[in-house]
């Protein structure tokens, strides 16, 4: 059943609605609930496929559903509709206004209603897709403040990598932090690239979600095997590759590549002069879990991330 989480009147003949699909057995289920949330950033579309696939799968196998599945495919419908990362008209990153405020302006009000609706779930997936610049292997990022409660879930989610990162004050205004701080376990998934859908990654995450539904007692049907992720809890493990100069980045390897020290990752070239401005090589042995997808780079642009010392990708 499609439900409206929150709606707001717009000035010119339109209603802004954030909607969800609630899937539940006819008897209302056993009270357990998983929520699948995506579309906070309007240019991140990987979650669209996961939402579709999960809803389709459950609707065709309703007899196995024991609990509640809430699917929120578009927290920022304006952004998705206009290929805009933030909230159009406000130039605002929606993932910096949580937990919102029911007495606040339109966006704060929307954020507060979304949090109210998703709070109390046994588990929430917040699916992101990096951005238009970077491609990521399927991974879950966890704020170290919530590692103890989240890592056990993340290990079962069929991702390749779990990155436990340091706490940051600015991240306290994210959707995931707001829910985690309120006691609703929320996993942030990053996978693929902005403005595109990588169906293989969607299939992978779908299997992880169904597996966790099974573990949570929400699903009685088929289970899926899940892979064992690499877990990094040490910030020193992760190296960032930033452009030394402006130019056009030509990658030499794909994300997920296992690298030896000195391997060529890519080149920054200057089409005007026909010259190579820089060659980017791996500073150490490691696993390239992020790579630059968008070719135009400025000095400082992120070109990739390497997990040092992990020689075998999953």
């Amino acid at each position: 059943m499609i439900e409206t989480v929150v709606k707001v009147d717009l000035p010119v003949d339109e209603m802004l609605q954030i909607r969800k699909m609630r899937l539940q057995p006819e008897n209302g289920g056993n009270g357990r609930r998983i929520s699948i949330v995506t579309g906070i950033h309007g240019d991140e579309l990987e979650g669209q496929y996961v939402c579709y696939k999960l809803s389709d799968y459950i609707r065709k196998n309703m007899k196995y559903l024991a609990g509640t599945v809430d699917v929120y495919p578009a927290l920022n419908p304006f952004g998705i509709d206009s290929i805009t990362r933030g909230i159009p008209a406000f130039d605002l990153d929606m993932n910096r206004i949580f937990p919102g405020n029911t007495e606040g302006d339109m966006n704060e009000y929307l954020a507060a209603q979304i949090v109210r609706d998703a709070a109390g779930s046994d588990l929430v997936f917040d699916i992101h897709a990096s951005n238009i610049f970077l491609t990521e292997v399927p991974q879950i990022r966890i704020n170290e403040l919530h590692a103890d409660s989240l890592v056990p879930y993340a290990r079962e989610a069929n991702v390749d990598f779990i990155w436990i990162h340091g706490a940051s004050t600015v991240l306290e205004s994210t959707f995931a932090h707001s829910l985690n701080a309120a006691g609703t376990p929320t996993l942030v998934v990053e996978m693929g690239v902005g403005m595109r859908i990588t169906q293989a990654y969607g299939d992978q995450l779908f299997a992880g979600i169904v597996h966790l539904m099974k573990r949570l007692g929400i699903w009685k049907g088929e289970d899926f095997d899940v892979r064992t992720p690499i877990v990094s809890a040490d910030n020193e493990d992760v190296g960032f590759l930033n452009a030394s100069t402006s130019g056009i980045f030509l990658k030499n390897v794909e994300h997920g590549a296992v690298l030896k020290k000195g391997d060529l990752i890519g080149r920054i070239v200057n089409p005007l002069t026909g010259t190579v401005a820089d060659e980017i090589t791996s500073p150490a042995d490691g696993w390239l879990f992020t790579i630059r997808e968008y070719p135009v780079v400025s000095e400082g642009s992120l070109l990739g991330r390497i997990l040092y010392g992990k020689e075998n990708s999953v």
């Binding site: 130039d91 605002l92 302006d105 600015v170 400025s298 000095e299 642009s301």
Partner: protein
Amino acid sequence: MEKKILFKIKALYRDDFRVSGFSFGSGEKAVCIVGSMRGNENQQLYCCSQLIRKLKELEAKGRIHEGKEILVVPCVNPYSMNIKKRFWSIDNTDINRMFPGYDEGETTQRIAGGLFEAIKDYVYGLQFASFYMPGRFVPHIRVMKTGFEDVELAKKFGFPYVVLHTPRPFDTTTLNYNWQVWETKAFSVYTTFTEEIDRASARQAVEAVLNFLRKTDTIDYDGFEGYVSKVVSTEEMVTVRNRTAGFFEGKTGAGEHVRKGQVLAYIADCYEGNVTDEICSPTDGTILFTHAEPRVYQNTAVYKIIPEKDEW
């Protein structure tokens, strides 16, 4: 006056990206003034241009105190200004969400880091700032509560109001907040407009900055004495919201004194023109901020009012 390049990045097809600073006097790093940081901050850029013009005159007359240096950075983001984009040209990030910056980080982190390295050691830091919502302000000084804020010093600008603001998580990456962390006394100067140039409020702001420079023993200046500032915290302000979306027809402007029950604005249906909401003031007070766009979303903070206090 000496023009300096504080930070530079080479681009592929555009001219070099440069953050320029204009230095007056020499000696102790006394006061740094930063102007536009976003591509739509025309008023902030204009204020700095007028300040630089004035400081050049004062320097020529020997009115900058011996052993004091003033640095004005009129624009931190010429790239975005020149293509009329609010945030960074490639990735749409906001430089004023990147402080204290990082010299090995992403582009806007490097810009913030390069600028901050050049300006973090000043005794006083002033920024001509803009609000995230479109609207008009009574010119005022805004101070972030970090534990290092100095409200008495903020009164030296001589603006009618000093607004004390409790930082939210995203404020911790602004210039103002990080200046204070590095023990620079930091103040944000708000004038009436952002995208449009308003010469009257710009002049008031420039006079207020010169007044501050005089009172902090940095220049000799015989000008605007200013008001005895009232201090108000953002928590004390009364926010007035509209119940319906539609055309916004404001009846009162920033700076006006209003009475409880007075009509501040009407909201009209965008198709049929009928009034759908009458917005009345919930208190006696002075309007600090007004919405300033033709249309308005439902439940927008269209007015912020400083309520009257008996002790004032």
